[in-house]
Symmetry: C2
Subunit: 156 residues, 2 copies
Amino acid sequence: MTESPQDHLGYQAALDAARSGAAAGGIPIGSSLADATGVIASGHNRRLQDSDPTAHAEIDALRAAGRRRDYRSMTLYTTLAPCALCAGAIVQFKIPRVVVGEHRNFSGELEWLRERGVEVVILDDGQAEQMMREFILNRPELWNEDIAQQTEGAHP
Amino acid sequence: MTESPQDHLGYQAALDAARSGAAAGGIPIGSSLADATGVIASGHNRRLQDSDPTAHAEIDALRAAGRRRDYRSMTLYTTLAPCALCAGAIVQFKIPRVVVGEHRNFSGELEWLRERGVEVVILDDGQAEQMMREFILNRPELWNEDIAQQTEGAHP
């Protein structure tokens, strides 16, 4: 088991952020960035709230953390497996470790992260999975837009 | 030669954005997003201006373009080879084609983009190369921060 008490706090911040995004009518994905001193910043998907397609949860958390010289002591927490954009950010910023709530609703780029030397821990968190599953069922067109999945007959 | 008259306009918008970022004291990298109808949006690196480490030029251009359902008819232009964050955005948004000003100051993730099926065109633009080279020479600490390159003795 690679989950630590530190991970509990970090992941809880990501889950809280996802719920806060959901409560504001957004896509319910949350993220946080933490090191041994605690949670540095958290964020959630803001595509709908800010009309910003790059504001995935992980990007929002990294933005909230501000300018940093060194991410090598940090872990990034996220409620859902990171997509290519967010996995790219993790690789670019040289974040060595990612803790993922669930990867059943979206498989993401976990294999590519591992290929690039990132440690990936999967929690199989049922709460994150259920929240995401309900959103996808209720608003499939918004979810497809967020992952650039074109649906037949969708308006441009 | 895969460069088209359309590419000239798209790349010019990226180069103009880089110059505009430089004039504001920022990291001189610009980007634009275009389709057959013309330039949709442009942007430049805003790490320094906005204290936002995720505001690379390509991310700024994608953000400026707002919510889109389909990027499959678009080309992304950038003055410098995309890093993992920006290459990840290109892969995630399924942008099929990237036109790069230069890849001498930073080699980026061009090979990974090609592996993922993205067409990569390199212009070898001397203007972009010189602007970037001068910035790196004058402000190496800012450039190292932008590419998460830790320098010995750098303060945190």
